[in-house]
Symmetry: C2
Subunit: 534 residues, 2 copies
């Protein structure tokens, strides 16, 4: 049991569907390894989550071809590797992991607990495997638990009963706030009941609405964390295990909660843009806080030269807004242009008889959306939509207007988080002008308008929304927190009524436990909310 | 075994979330019944599919309250009833059915096979129940199989082994083309192996992207169909079963395949509009076939007075299109208006320097979308989007332009089906002017444009798309049908590249085996398609 085992943890950023490219990337890390075993993250070969691609026979056969090629190409490597991939056994597709050594697959294990809640649909595409037996490898007995298999006590117990020496966990675990604590807690529970050391390898990178934070780690048999890997960065770490003790590189300090959140948004946006091949992003800078923070995130993700901000003033735009938008763009160093919408407003007011009220307000927002989309079509830059979760929750956004865009970095941030991140981003120098943070938020679609004409104060709104969305609380429970019943009922109705708008919203980075999108599958036609007062 | 059993089959149209309203509707049918047992469809109380509402404790407790109330209200009814609903037993939520008699729940059974593919997410919200045991009822032994439980041989076999007398199947089975044959085939397989008679009750109605066609039926122990209920209409049917023989009302003839499809679109649209409380619909009538067929469906669904058509000509609009749009609106008798977009085109050409090419084309489409949305905001009428599946597949549509809308009746129809339904709708009098059907399709966004400048002939395109989407075939298999490899590869790439557009498309009626939407969960960021030629 005290024989030396050396491992290389490969925390990479794969691209979904790029089987050849991912294989090439893995081979590079593998070829250079001096360790016994390279551990790649879950679905490292095809990227995670592959979704319904797994149902395509051509996808599976491409995976089989590339696994064969990986075997051939690695035949003379010093290291073996654990490679996770969809795999068909007797006509059933599993979330599997292969041990590949000396040019051959020498063992295959499958995931037992398939997540099928939240954003996950693994029971849709995979068969659950049996409890995984140990894998014998160079005189060691390895316990391999794929991702969710670490979250239930039965898998580690099964492996402990069969005398494994170490637990190795390849993951495709997406970021949410405080998720890294949850993972470490689950790892400690496995260790507590088994006394086994544990090695956790997670991928990084953005994939549509998910962002993976990496943060691979190692814990010894007492549950002490002996290594912490980087967050949101590709890395390989060589560790040694002998006589129950690890020798690891120096740990990377974890980000603060706020910085972690910001980094998640930056990486989520960067990978959406780069993996989808956009040259840059375009956004409407209004002089308000959402577009200012979005611009800052875009600059941090892509570089100021790839960010194009457009101020599109109307007669309702204040001098303050014009100044603040320009000030923000200048502080960020990004491209900035002004395109007044007056002529478009004039044209539509002439074309559409009696255009007024909300219809007139939305028309302005849509004229701006049209301008941004035309610039996008001309330049190839993607429009960045900038609405936050509080607004998207209650429908305080114009469909085909400010909701235009290919991606939205703030989609899952409550308004309070938008303020907190803006303050944080200014910590080493003001890029979001102070007045943007202190002034009353307004859509400036008519004279003297503020968001609070239509909505409760954001602090109240955010708390009620979090109770409704994240915690599925009922009216009585929410009122018990000190909220007015009329307000709670109104917010609930607005939340349900805006489902149709959200269904057409662009994707954005999930950071909460219940993001709008695949994480929360609500009917549009839904009379439950309509009868709340009953 | 020869004791008389009388049943009332209740084929109703519930509304998701309207627990009180659905209960009221059920009580009405139940109160008037003289039969032993009223059989309601799957999830009749809360509507199907309830999706993530089931995860909300307030939803479950409202269901419990209304089940109690149903018990109280029905205490003196002559009939018992089978009522299907989500139900919590020992902290686990099941897709369950209650037998309610004399004011009490006298038996509860749960669904064993939970569908989790296609549009279904039942493993996300329900626990699978054990194989259901028989239910003793007034001297009879009933075998109750909820929906999917009829599709696997084990449930009927389990009930046969326990000597049930009859199989009763409550369903929430959505329409797709040829689905009714599939259901009857599965029913016959159950009967073949058990010799048991079978009663099948399905709901009707539209729920977001799904439409339920009803078509309840009865088969005797030899597999002979002795009754066929109406499609797409609410109905109750009283049947008698004695000495192995049924006495049923006269069967309702089934629609032809084309008419069934048309009725599905009509009901799907009607229910989306009425259940969501829109006074009517608005659509842009271009003089082309998609908007003409959409208008016809809307008129059939809602009545001509609730359909508002707007022709929005540009300098690229031909005289033929103007004539054909007006002719179609006149033939349908709906409201018709003309709003030229020239001024808006002028304004945006001035605002956006160098606007040309695709950006200029999309601008026109978006100006039209903006006008329709402004009219929608002013009147409350919902905008009906009119793109077909072939266009949505390859991205031949303008996001925030012609894709604007709350619902799209043609969303899941290939272009070939649009032509077939248009011909069929003209069978008893031309409402879609002949020239709309015979002329070359064009977006009229520049001079002398036709769809075939950018796309393969629709017949070719539709076949390739069906192979890719419905059958997940690979390039070689598709080429073996006589298609050119370059064309197949190009269509596959267009299909993958347009995923981001489809993600922001309005909902529409699913009619194929693989509709865009929850039925086909593809990543946007997806490099698999990008490497097809390799």
């Amino acid at each position: 049991m005290s024989k030396l085992l050396t491992l290389r943890l490969a925390q990479l950023n794969p691209t979904v569907g790029d089987i050849a490219g991912n294989a090439e990337k893995m081979l590079e890390v593998w070829r250079q390894s001096e360790s016994d075993l390279v551990v790649f993250a879950e679905m490292a070969l095809c990227g995670y989550p592959p979704e319904d691609l797994v149902l395509k026979p051509a996808f599976i056969s491409s995976i089989e071809t590339h696994i064969e090629k990986l075997c051939t190409d690695s035949a003379n490597f010093k290291s073996a590797a654990l490679i996770s991939t969809p795999w068909v056994i007797d006509d059933k597709t599993y979330n599997a992991v292969h041990l590949i050594e000396n040019g051959k697959i020498t063992a295959t294990r499958t995931k037992h607990h398939l997540p099928n809640e939240g954003v996950f649909d693994e029971l849709r595409i995979f068969e659950p495997g049996p409890l995984p037996d140990p894998v014998d490898f160079r005189g060691h007995s390895l316990g391999i638990m794929i991702c969710r298999d670490m979250w239930f006590p039965d898998v580690a117990a099964h492996l402990k009963d069969r005398n494994v020496e170490i637990l190795i966990v390849p993951n495709g675990s997406p970021f949410t706030t405080k998720k890294s604590q949850d993972r470490q807690e689950k790892a400690r529970e496995c260790i507590k009941t088994t006394g086994l050391p544990l090695v956790y390898v997670n991928q990084i990178g953005g994939q549509d609405e998910l962002v993976f934070d990496g943060g691979s780690f190692v814990m010894d048999g007492s549950g002490e964390q002996v290594f912490q890997g980087a967050e949101f960065a590709e890395a390989t770490y060589d560790i040694e295990f002998s006589g129950g003790k690890f020798t690891c590189p120096e740990s990377i300090p974890q980000y603060s909660e706020t910085e972690e959140l910001y980094q998640a948004l930056v990486l989520g946006l960067r990978d959406y843009i780069t993996k989808n091949g956009f040259p840059g992003v375009l956004l409407g800078l209004s002089g308000g806080i959402d577009s200012a923070l979005s611009a800052a995130i875009a600059v941090d993700a892509l570089g100021a030269d790839k960010v194009y901000c457009v101020m599109m003033p109307s007669p309702f735009t204040s001098e303050d807004s014009l100044e603040d938008a320009r000030g923000c763009a200048e502080a960020l160093g990004c491209n900035y242009d002004t395109m007044p919408i007056d002529q478009a407003m004039g044209a539509f007011t002439t074309i559409i008889p009696g255009l007024s009220g909300i219809a007139h307000e939305n028309m302005q927002s849509r004229a701006r959306g049209l301008i941004l989309m035309a610039l996008s079509n001309s330049t190839g830059n993607m429009v960045l939509s900038t609405g936050n979760k509080s607004e998207m929750a209650v429908g305080y956004a114009t469909l085909y207007g400010d909701m235009c865009g290919g991606f939205n970095a703030l989609k899952d941030l409550y308004k309070g988080q938008v303020y907190a991140l803006s303050e944080w981003r200014n910590r080493e120098g003001e890029v979001i002008p102070k007045r943007i943070i202190t002034k009353a938020p307004t859509a400036e679609l008519k004279d003297n308008q503020t968001d609070q004409d239509s909505l409760p104060e954001y602090e109240t709104l955010d708390d009620i929304l979090e109770c409704l969305i994240e915690h599925e609380m009922d009216t009585a429970e929410i009122c018990a927190r000190g909220h007015d019943e009329t307000v709670v009922t109104r917010v609930w109705k607005m939340l349900d009524a805006a489902e149709y708008k959200r269904r057409q919203a662009p994707p954005g980075v999930k950071i909460t436990s219940r993001a709008f999108g695949r994480d929360r599958r609500y009917p549009i036609t839904n009379h439950f909310g309509k009868n709340i007062e009953k």
